[in-house]
Amino acid sequence: MIRFENVTKMYDPNIVGLEDVNIHIDRGEFCFLVGHSGSGKSTFIRLLLKELEPNEGTITVAGRNLQRMRHSALPYHRRNLGCVFQDFKLLPNKSVADNVAYALRVTGQPARAIRRKVPEILNLVGLGDKMNNLPDELSAGEQQRVSVARAFVNHPSLLVADEPTGNLDPDTSVGIMQLLYRINRTGTTVLMATHDREMVDKMRKRVIALEDGKVIRDEDKGLYR
């Protein structure tokens, strides 16, 4: 699903983003990406989204080589890749339903399909009764659920979450984790960058640890440590 081969990303001649990273994540895996701030987690995710270009190496996502991908194909790449962020990144002027619908609209789905799918996914994340609220009117945990709903509504083959529980209290975090776990069970590959030691230790999934841009550990059923 995701293949990093000898990937190096330098921001400046002496500021390392990632250094010679080799990682292979299979379809359907649930995988944690851990490490301190500045260890390269965000660089990793931004490379996946093709927001950044590596200086060296090749990145393949769902069989497509990102370095050979044309700029015009980029939106289609991102549609196949759901994203959840620490700061939710919801559109503040749009209702919950419209936020989720936006991800469907950009793919050119007909209005009828949108009207059907949006309530469906919002019920799935437990927000069926808050469809017409604005994001500001929701709690942080609820906003993150909206963000997960938006990421998943297109049923992407890969869901990437950048510290999705970073702004949430432990109980709410558990809810989000359960949601991601359920999404993973449908066959979607989930990659989650996190600081949340407790969560990682509880889940016992694959853990990839980064430090100073290098992979220092990659183990199945791993712990945060």
């Binding site: 991102r78 936006y102 950009v106």
Partner: protein
């Protein structure tokens, strides 16, 4: 397509930034108003000038010493010219009568005259007013024409007047074009700035749109529509104002009260003028937002 969606996005954004939107709309309105009024003036002047030129005549004054045979000979000569449409002989008596007519109420000044000093003349109307000078020169050296020695003041054309009107109109047109250009540039810049602010206000939104896989055009369309609406609304308001002003101030206020002016309410092709304004405004709007998108929307 997603027309309805883009439309709603654009309208919502316009309403959200209504102060800026109004400013841009008013600038478009002013520039299109200047363009519209300029065009109306131009059409009216144009009409007046062509009217004037069609009435242009060559007047040939004849020496008092010329014999009736010489006068009739000149008349035949003029009638034989292919450029001539009409010839009218004005005798000394008729000339005096005309003068008396034009002095109505002050006829007594004529009493000071001893006899009739006015010369007889021929008034020549041409088929094509542009040939007026060419025809006029033919009489310059005619011995019976009443020239002061060394000049050609026995031959008069209305050309000087129409040339002067034409010159004034040209100046007027240049000033109008300059104003229109100025206001158009101002509108483009203002719309461009409005779009820029709109992009800036929504840069987070744009980032999110990109992340969920919106294509560049999907992101651009609402912004472009915003500019186009601004232009269209401004231009439509200007068109309504121009029609109103033309109807109530120019046609009713000036033409109908001063019927002797060689102006005409039919002189302005209103439909085309309105179309021109609306197309102009729309163009200004799309160019303005397009400029801002190129410079500020990095996708």
């Amino acid at each position: 397509m997603n027309f309805k969606f883009f439309f709603n996005e654009a309208v919502n954004s316009l309403i959200r930034n209504w102060v800026m939107s109004m400013a841009a709309i008013v600038t478009v309105l002013v520039s299109m108003l200047v363009l519209g009024m300029g065009m109306i003036m131009y059409f009216n002047f144009e009409h007046a000038i062509s009217d004037l030129r069609n009435k242009l005549e060559v007047e040939v004054f004849i020496k008092n010493t010329a014999s009736p045979d010489q006068i009739n000979g000149l008349g035949d000569e003029i009638r034989a010219m292919s450029e001539v449409k009409e010839v009218n002989f004005v005798s000394k008596e008729e000339a005096l009568n005309r003068l008396r007519e034009s002095l109505k109420g002050h006829e007594d000044v004529l009493d000071a005259l001893s006899g009739n000093p006015l010369p007889p003349s021929y008034e020549i109307t041409l088929k094509d007013p542009n040939q007026i000078n060419e025809v006029a020169t033919r009489f310059f050296d005619n011995p019976i024409v009443d020239n002061t020695p060394g000049t050609h003041d026995g031959v008069k054309t209305g050309g000087e007047t129409s040339d002067r009107v034409l010159k004034v109109t040209t100046y007027f047109l240049i000033v109008a074009v300059a104003f229109v250009a100025l206001f158009t540039v101002a509108s483009v810049l203002l719309i461009s700035n409005t779009t820029r602010l709109s992009i800036f206000a929504r840069r987070r939104e744009v980032e999110i749109m990109r992340l969920v896989g919106a294509t560049n055009w999907f992101i651009r369309w609402p912004f472009i529509m915003e500019g186009v609406f601004t232009g269209m609304v401004g231009a439509a308001a200007a068109a309504i104002l121009v029609m109103f002003i033309n109807r109530f101030f120019i046609v009713e206020g000036v033409l109908n009260k001063l019927p002797f002016l060689p102006l005409n309410s039919e002189a302005v092709p209103m439909f085309w003028l309105v179309l021109l304004l609306i197309i102009g405004g729309t163009l200004v709007g799309s160019v303005g937002s397009g400029l801002a998108l190129r410079r500020f929307l990095k996708i």
